[in-house]
């Protein structure tokens, strides 16, 4: 084959090999790449107390209790839920039914002490009139649980 063809095959093969290697590496270090674990993940992994991690899910409806500077709430992924307590400023978007990511650790009693609480929003964008109309007509689909 010509030198040009050889170079082309070399480049394509190189890209393929690199892609495969990258895929393998990413699979191997998958655990470090996730930004948070869901309550179901935590239960499955039997995460012990005093191990720092991030918990993600939805703020369970009806679970928010404000006690002065501290707020208690539950994070759910619609299959499992975890109780959280946090003292500090909450993001604007924080509310029941909203996505949330909290960083902190579990205490011995299964309560998650969060040092930071972030809000997570979905990929839906619409004006208020549209969301109001959808809610009124019963077509409003609640935000799906974070993966």
């Amino acid at each position: 084959m010509t030198r040009k063809q050889r170079r082309l095959y070399f480049v394509l093969l190189g890209m393929l090999a690199l892609g495969a290697a990258t895929a393998l590496v990413l699979t191997a270090i998958n655990d470090t790449l996730v930004y948070f674990y869901t309550p179901a993940d935590i239960q499955a992994k039997h995460v012990g107390p005093n191990r720092r991690f991030r918990l993600g899910g939805l703020v369970e409806k009806g679970s928010v209790v404000k006690k002065g500077e501290t707020v208690d709430f539950k994070v759910t992924d619609l299959t499992a839920s975890l109780a959280v307590t946090y003292t500090g400023v909450l993001p604007d978007l924080f509310r029941e039914g909203q996505g949330v990511v909290a960083e902190g650790k579990l205490d011995g009693q299964g309560m998650f002490h969060a040092s930071e609480v972030l809000a997570k929003h979905d990929e839906k964008y619409m004006p208020k009139e549209v969301s109001d109309a959808l809610k009124k007509s019963g077509q409003w689909r609640e935000e799906n649980a974070s993966k």
Partner: protein
């Protein structure tokens, strides 16, 4: 492709196209800004901060498109040794780096009020930061060697190798739990963004694209002219002594 093997022809063609792409850019930017900043609604949950999307998302799109252009041009340059390909890769790099920077900073400005943090080491943001470093590395390699062809080759290899980052960026929000939300526009089926907001987003998206093309054309023209200047100077140094090299050394022309 071979029609453009003559660089000066490309320069003339680019100079002819350029005013049109520039004009389209200005019109689309004006329309995009009008709709984005005035004639579109606030978001039901993000309020007016959603308007940052109209600069943040097109920047992200262009950051990735510019890199893809750079990687493809590098590949063509490495395999077919087409002279224009290397120049396109070189020209695209700083533009892509600039868009990546804008994407990262506007993203921070959007993330702070909405998420509650300026930065998060999730897969989407981290891979975008890596993209920025890839651009910087590419630009550095181009200038790192005394022999420019070695720099071009090294930079080209980096550009190709780094291309694996592009699907990672795109699918990061699907493959891993991330703070950054999944895609709204490229969803199979209906985009999850209201038409009144999709309009300014698309206008700005196309505007940024034509902007990229315009600036790229100017840069490639510059590179071609710079190559021509280098060629003439080299020619002067190597040509017969006498009147010619005398002028080069600084004696007054006869």
């Amino acid at each position: 492709m071979h029609r453009f093997a003559n660089p000066m022809r490309f320069v003339r063609l680019a100079a002819a196209i350029q005013p049109w792409t520039a004009g389209v850019t200005l019109i689309l930017l004006a329309l995009g800004l009008y709709f984005g900043l005035f004639d579109s609604p606030a978001d039901y949950q993000q309020g007016e901060s959603v308007r940052i999307m109209y600069v943040h998302v097109p920047s992200a799109w262009l950051a990735m498109a510019a890199y893809s252009t750079m990687a493809f041009a590098s590949g063509v340059g490495l395999v077919w040794k087409h002279p224009l390909a290397d120049l396109i890769a070189k020209a695209a790099s700083p533009i892509g780096a600039a868009f990546t920077f804008v994407c990262l900073v506007t993203g921070s400005l959007w993330g702070k009020p909405m998420w509650g943090t300026w930065w998060a080491w999730d897969a989407r943001l981290t891979s975008m930061l890596i993209l920025f470093f890839l651009y910087l590395g590419h630009m550095a390699l181009l200038n790192a060697f005394d022999d420019p062809t070695r720099g071009t080759k090294a930079a080209g290899i980096l550009a190709l190798a780094g291309f694996v980052n592009i699907p990672i960026i795109k699918f990061s929000v699907d493959w891993w739990n991330t703070l950054h939300q999944p895609a709204s526009v490229s969803k199979v089926g209906m985009p999850t963004i209201d038409p009144s907001m999709l309009l300014p987003l698309m206008l700005m998206g196309v505007a940024f694209t034509t902007f990229f093309v315009t600036v790229l054309l100017i840069r490639v023209r510059s590179e071609i002219l710079a190559a021509k200047v280098r060629a003439i100077r080299l020619n002067q140094i190597h040509s017969a002594p006498g009147a010619i090299s005398g002028e080069l050394v600084g004696e007054s022309p006869r």
